[in-house]
């Protein structure tokens, strides 16, 4: 298998995933307008309580609005796809394709990301700018560190999604594992309450876990500023570690995979 095949194959898979995403426009419409509703209840609650926390209200709103946008982009469901293919035995078909399975799923992820950016990200950003304007927009200097932290977060998300998917090699069902991990990411990643609001010891523990870098690090920078280099480096280190973990799971999983010839 040549690396050139992997790239070309991943591009083709990505384009297909992109097109697949738009097959059911009704689903996109419904998701775009209703997913923010969950965040809306948090926002209304914060507005009702007023700013009793250490951050001003504008920073909190910016945090939750950007949190919603990132969530819309990151929730690609690659872990469900990979698990379903392993558990149903369709992985056997993937193993016979002219590209590796990692590039195959990475291509799928890239296609879905591009589609989500087109369907949710860009309209979301436009909507937020129209609705909130200056509250959510930051000076141009803030964008570069934020983008660096966000790209790190994306790398972590995709790596972790694949790692969760590979866990299907070892479990008869891993649906609950995926669900619990999602909860953990929302909780420890600061999507529900910014990690900075936790007691110091708890915040230190949360920051030492990879989940903080999935959402917490970019969102905290976006809302509150401050130094970002340490967070960026820590996130990158976690991404490398998770990649290594994923590699081990995949190698071990492929070794124990029994294809039934179907």
């Amino acid at each position: 298998m040549r690396p050139g095949n992997d790239w070309r194959g991943a591009l083709a898979v990505g384009m297909l995933s992109f097109r697949e995403f738009f097959v059911y426009p009704w689903d996109l419409f419904v998701t775009f307008f209703t997913q923010p509703v969950a965040f809306f209840s948090y926002a209304c609650f914060i507005l009702a309580v007023g700013s009793t926390t250490q951050w001003p209200l504008e920073s909190l709103l910016a945090y939750y609005v950007m949190g919603w946008l990132l969530r819309m982009l990151f929730q690609q469901g690659i872990e469900h796809t990979v698990s379903a293919r392993i558990l149903s035995g369709e992985l056997a078909v993937d193993l016979t394709r002219p590209l590796g399975i990692v590039p195959l799923y990475l291509g799928m992820s890239a296609g879905r990301l591009a589609a989500r950016m087109t369907a949710y990200g860009i309209p979301g950003i436009l909507l937020v700018c129209l609705a909130g304007g200056a509250v959510y927009l930051k000076p141009a200097g803030s964008w570069l560190p934020f983008m660096a932290l966000t790209l790190n977060a994306l790398l972590l998300q995709v790596t972790f999604a694949l790692l969760l998917g590979w866990s299907a090699f070892y479990f008869s069902i891993n649906a609950q594992l995926i669900w619990v991990t999602d909860m953990l990411i929302r909780l420890a990643g600061g999507l529900v309450v910014p990690v900075a609001f936790f007691p110091v010891q708890a915040a230190t523990v949360l920051k030492s876990l990879p989940f903080y870098y999935f959402y917490g690090a970019p969102l905290a920078y976006w809302a509150h500023g401050g130094t970002w280099q340490t967070d960026w480096l820590a996130g990158l280190t976690w991404a490398v570690l998770l990649m290594a973990g994923g590699r081990i799971l995949l190698t071990g999983g492929l070794r124990r995979l029994a294809v039934n010839g179907g």
Partner: protein, 263 residues
């Protein structure tokens, strides 16, 4: 009625046995429920210190409301949520509804027995714990009658949820890919876990008139705690009856509209 209850009990035991076959998956699911509760609790605790209130609502009232919502959702979801998820794909498109129509039991009871999810009982227990935490430990205040009312209206909330599930799943007789509605429904459901007065007027109207989730916990609790008029209590009962009745009628109409696939 007795036969229907026995059928549901037997189906519940059978399903529980099947789920416990995958023990680790089941235990991880339990952990997930704990995490899910922790999300709501942590959010409340961090933004609403014990000595402050929002529109006269203290953290104890928020916990009572969360508990009521959990009991109501757990009971209804245990019976109908899985059916709501798979109804149009498995029963209408694949035609498995044909076999339900030939059973000696009413199709809806048979379908509920086939798809019920006993794991949701954890959500109910979680709701009870939240109410207990608020009432006994944090001292929510109020008499035993109020506590009894809270438990009663939590069950009424389950009837409202069941009606909504039935209406949504019955639309599968006419609309394709109705499953796309489940995520929005869960998002809207989250709105119902907070007191409605924190929302803009249009959202309050939506949750009162269009999707009556406000009657699951907010209106009965506020009424029982004398924050709003007592008229809302009989109104809650009426809404529960209307919601469940509308769900059953819509489902029955759907059955008449359904054309068997010959399975």
């Amino acid at each position: 009625m007795r036969r229907k209850l026995i059928l549901l009990w037997l189906a519940c035991r059978l399903r529980l046995k099947a789920e416990i076959t995958y023990r680790i998956n089941w235990l991880i699911g339990l952990a997930g429920q704990v995490c899910f509760s922790a999300l709501s609790l942590i959010f409340l605790v961090f933004f609403l210190p014990a000595d402050t209130d929002v529109g006269g609502w203290h953290i104890t009232d928020f916990l009572l409301m969360l508990g009521m919502s959990d009991i109501a959702f757990g009971l209804a979801a245990g019976l109908f949520f899985r059916l709501f998820l798979v109804f149009d794909s498995e029963y209408i498109l694949y035609g498995r509804l044909d076999s339900a129509l030939t059973q000696p039991e009413a199709p809806l009871v048979w379908l509920a027995a086939r798809t019920l999810n006993p794991q949701e009982i954890i959500t109910v227990v979680k709701g009870m714990l939240l109410i207990g935490l608020s009432w006994f430990w944090l001292g929510s205040g109020g008499g035993w009658l109020t506590l009894g009312g809270i438990c009663f209206f939590a069950v009424t909330g389950a009837v409202i949820y069941s009606g909504i599930f039935l209406m949504l799943l019955a639309t599968g007789f006419w609309i394709q890919r109705r499953t796309a509605l489940y995520a929005p429904f869960l998002s809207i459901n989250q709105l119902g876990q907070m007191p409605l007065f924190i929302y803009p007027e249009v959202v309050r109207l939506l949750l009162t008139v269009v999707i009556p989730i406000g009657f699951v916990a907010y209106y009965p609790l506020a009424s029982l705690k004398y924050m709003i008029s007592g008229v809302w209590l009989p109104l809650t009962l009426a809404i529960a009856a209307a919601s469940f009745g509308a769900g059953v009628i819509l489902f029955a109409r759907g059955i008449r509209h359904y054309e068997g696939a010959g399975h």
